[in-house]
C-alpha cells in the first residue's frame, strides 16, 4: 500500500527526516513514536503531500512521489487527522464531516458510529476536545481515504476517554480496512494499538517491528529507554543464562561466545524486592500508581534501580531489601558501554 524509500525532508537548511524507509501493508496499522521534534509530523505531512521530499521516494498505491515528481495532496487519497484537529471553524459538525461528499451517507454513518449525533449542528468551538477529535476522525474516514495518517490524535484527552477512543479508532480502521500511520507520544498507546511500531530519533527510524519485539528486544539503548524505565546491569554470559549481581536470567537462543561481558536490560517489572535485613540495598522512595507501586531502590553498590510491584506490596522508605531478577523471559543484551571521555 505505502512504501517509503530513503526519505529525506528539509526545512531550509535544517534536516527533519533523514533516510527513512518503511512499508505499510494493506489494512496494517503502524504506530510511530519518538521524542519531540524527531520528525514524526514531518513524515506524515510528506506522505500527505503537504511537504515535498528533499530526497527519496514515496509510493502510495500506484502513485510515485519523489523530490522532482510531485502529486498534489488532493490526488493522493490520503486522509490526515491533525493533532489540533484542524476542523473548519465556520462549518458545523455535520458539514465538517461531509465536507466534500456528494452523497452524505458515509458522513451519516460515521456520525452515528462515533456517537456524534446530538452534536450534529454544533460549531467546532463549542465542542470539547474529545468530541473535536471524533469529528476530525469521522471527517477523515467519511472521505474514504486509501490510507489514513493520524498525528497524535489523543493528546490532551483524559486517560479514561483516551483508552476508550484508542480502541474505537482502531476498530473503526480495521472495520474499514484502511491502513494507517498513527503518531503518538504515549508509549502505552503505541505498544497496544499498532500492528507494528516504529521508533524515531532525530529524523531517523531507530527500529520498526512488532510492539513486543520492540519492547523486549530494543534495537538500541535509546529505544530501550524510550519505551519504558530501563536499567542496564553488567553481566557475564553463561550457556543458557546470563549471570548478574542480582541473579541469573535466561537469555533465550542468542548466538554468543560464553564468558562475554554484556549489559542486561532490566525493566522495573523484571525485578522483585523483598524485605531483608541482609539484602543488597534499601528503598529510597516509593510512588503509588493505582494498580501498581514503583520503588526506587538504592543498591549497596551505589546503583539505583526502579522496581514495580503490585500495589498491595508496601515497604517504607529506608527499608532494607533484597532485589532480584525475577524475569521468566529472556532479557535483552547489549554490548557494554565504552567508558566515555577523552580517548
Amino acid at each position: 500500500m505505502l512504501e517509503i524509500h530513503n526519505l529525506c525532508v528539509h526545512y531550509g537548511d535544517a534536516t527533519a527526516v533523514r533516510d527513512l524507509s518503511l512499508t505499510l501493508g494493506d489494512g496494517e496499522i503502524l504506530t510511530l513514536v519518538g521524542p519531540t521534534g524527531c520528525g514524526k509530523t514531518s513524515v506524515l505531512r510528506t506522505v500527505a503531500g503537504l511537504i515535498q521530499p528533499a530526497a527519496g521516494e514515496i509510493r502510495i498505491g500506484k502513485l510515485r512521489i519523489d523530490s522532482k515528481r510531485n502529486v498534489p495532496p488532493e490526488k493522493r487519497h490520503v486522509g490526515l487527522v491533525f493533532q489540533d484537529f484542524a476542523l473548519f471553524p465556520h462549518l458545523n459538525v455535520e458539514d465538517n464531516i461531509a465536507f466534500r461528499l456528494k452523497d452524505r451517507a458515509p458522513a451519516e454513518r460515521w456520525l452515528k458510529q462515533l456517537g456524534l449525533e446530538q452534536h450534529r449542528h454544533a460549531m467546532p468551538d463549542t465542542l470539547s476536545g474529545g468530541q473535536k477529535q471524533r469529528v476530525a476522525l469521522a471527517r477523515a474516514l467519511a472521505h474514504a481515504p486509501a490510507l489514513l495518517l493520524l498525528d497524535e490524535p489523543l493528546a490532551s484527552l483524559d486517560a479514561a476517554l483516551k483508552a476508550q477512543l484508542r480502541w474505537e479508532i482502531r476498530q473503526a480502521l480495521k472495520a474499514a480496512g484502511v491502513p494507517a500511520i498513527w503518531v503518538t507520544h504515549d508509549q502505552t498507546e503505541a505498544l497496544s494499538v499498532g500492528d507494528r511500531m516504529g521508533i524515531m530519533c532525530d529524523g531517523r527510524l531507530e527500529q520498526i517491528d512488532e510492539p513486543d519485539a520492540c519492547f523486549r528486544k530494543p534495537a538500541s539503548r535509546f529505544v530501550a529507554h524510550f519505551l519504558g524505565d530501563a536499567a542496564f546491569l553488567p553481566g557475564e554470559l553463561g550457556s543458557t543464562h546470563v549471570h548478574t549481581a542480582l541473579g541469573d536470567a535466561p537469555i533465550g537462543d542468542v548466538a554468543h561466545s560464553p564468558d562475554t561481558r554484556v549489559d542486561v536490560l532490566v525493566r522495573p517489572d523484571d525485578l522483585s524486592v523483598t524485605a531483608a535485613n541482609d539484602g543488597n540495598g534499601h528503598i529510597e522512595w516509593s510512588r503509588y500508581e493505582g494498580e501498581t507501586r514503583l520503588y526506587g531502590v538504592r543498591l549497596n553498590s551505589g546503583a539505583q534501580l526502579r522496581v514495580r510491584t503490585n500495589h498491595e506490596h508496601q515497604l517504607d522508605d529506608g527499608a532494607a531489601v533484597d532485589t532480584r531478577i525475577c524475569a521468566g523471559h529472556a532479557l535483552a543484551l547489549f554490548e557494554p558501554e565504552r567508558p566515555t571521555g577523552s580517548a
Binding site: L50, P72, E74, A86, R100, D125
Partner: protein
Amino acid sequence: MTRQPWSYVPAALIAAAALAPVLVLVYMSIGADLLFDGRTFEIVLNTVLLAVLTVTGAVLIGVPLAVVTTYADLPFRRVWVALLAAPLAIPSYLGAFAFFAAFGPGGEIETLTGIATPRAEGLIGASLVMTLYTYPFVLVSTRAALQSLDANVVDAARTLGLTLPAAMFRIVLPRAANGIAAGALLVALYTLSDFATPAIMHLDTFTRMIYVDYHAFGLDSAALMSLQLLALVVIVLFFESRIRVRRERPGRVLQLPLSRAVNSTAFALAGVVVLAAIVLPVAVFGAWLVREGVVGFEPRYALNSAYAALLAALGAVIVALPVAYAASAGWFGRLCERITYLGFGIPGIVMGTALLYLGLRLPLLYQTLALLVLAYILRFLPLAVGAVRSSTERVENNLVGAARSLGATPGEVFRRVSLPLILPGIVAAAALVFLEAMRELPATLLLRPTGFDTLATYLWRVYEAGHLGRGAVPALALVLVSGVALVLMLSGEARRRRLTAG
C-alpha cells in the same frame, strides 16, 4: 519546500504595476534641477516634524482607544468603534478648514459663543488636525492585532504580581507592535502626502512646495520633489519593516472588567475625539448650511462616489489577496508588498498626473471610470494589503492541509475554507479602501470621466467657490455613505471574533 509560492507571480505583477507611476515620475522629472538649499532643509524638517508629531498623536489616541474598544466591557461597543473610525470618512481638508474657521479670534466658536479660542494653525494646528483624521488607521490595525493575542499571557503576568495597566504596557502592547506599526505607517504616509491640511494651517511642507511647482507648470520639478519625498517614504517603510513581532496562535479572548474611573476616562477620551473630529466640522458646516441653504446638490453625486469607491474596494481586495499571501511567504513577497506602499506616500495630484500619463498610453481607458478605479486601487492598495494580511495570517496552514487531504483542489480550498475565514479581513480592507476612495480628490479630478461628479469633487467645487454652506450636504452625505461602509466593516469584525474566539 523549494517551490516558489504561487502568489509570487501575481504579486510581482502587481508590484510592477504599482511601480509604474513611480517610473513615470522619474521620466517626468528628467530635466528638472535638483533644488536643495537651506529653505528646502527647513521644509523637509517641517515635513518630518509634522509626520512625527502626527504619528505620535495618532498612536497616543489610537492605541488606548483600541485597547478599550477591544478588551473593555464597553456598552454599545460597536457604536463606539463606528464613531471612532468615522473620521476616516471626512476629507482632512474639510476638517482642517472647519478647525481653521472655528478657532481663533473672529472664528465660528467666538461668533457663536463669545468664547475666545487660540488659532488652530502652524505645526501644532496641522499636527492636531492630521492626528484627528488619521488616528483611525492606528485604531483599526491595532484592534486587529489585539484581537489575535492570547489573553492567558496577561493573566500569567497578573499572577506574577503585575497590575493590569502595567501588564498592558509590558505584555500586551509589545506584542501588538506589528499592528501599531502598520497603522502608524499609514498615518505617516498619509501625512507625508497630504497637501490640504498643512496648506490650510499655513505650514510649509514638501507637498506644498510640490503643489506650488505643479501649479506653476513646473511638472518636472514637482515630479523631482515627489521623488525626493519618496526617499522619506522609503525610510519610513524601512523602519516599519524592522518592527516584526513573531506571530502567535490566537488564544482566549481577553475581557477586562474596567474600574469606573478607567471607564469614564475612556469615555471622556473617546467623547472628546468624536467631538473634535466629527461633531465640530459637521457643526461648522451645519452653521453655514443654515446661513446659505441647500443649493445645487444632486443625489447622483453620492451614487457616483459610492459606485466608484465600491468598484475600487472590490478591485483592491482582489489585488491585495495575492500580495498579502506573498508577503507572508518570504522576502520576495515582502518586497513586492513594500513596493505597493509607495503610491500611498506620493501627493495625490502628482500621483494623479503620473497615472494620467499612463492613462494617455492606454487611449481606450483614458477618461473612463475604469482608469479612475485603477488609480484608486494603485493608490489605496496598501490599506487593503494590511487588513487582508492580518486575516490571512490567521488561517492556519493546517486547515488548508486538511481540506486538501480531503481531496479539495487549491481553488476549492480557497473558495470553501480560506475565503469564508478571511472574509472579515477582506470586508475590513474593502471598507478602508472604500472610505479613502470616497474622500479622494486630486486624482479623481484628473482622471474621472468628463462630467462624472462625485461628492468629493462637488465639495471641492463649492469649497473653491467659497460657498462653504453648500458643502454641508455633501459632507454629511459623505459621512453617511461611509457610515454604511463602517457598519459593514464592523459586522465583519463581529464574525471574526466569533470564529477565532478560543
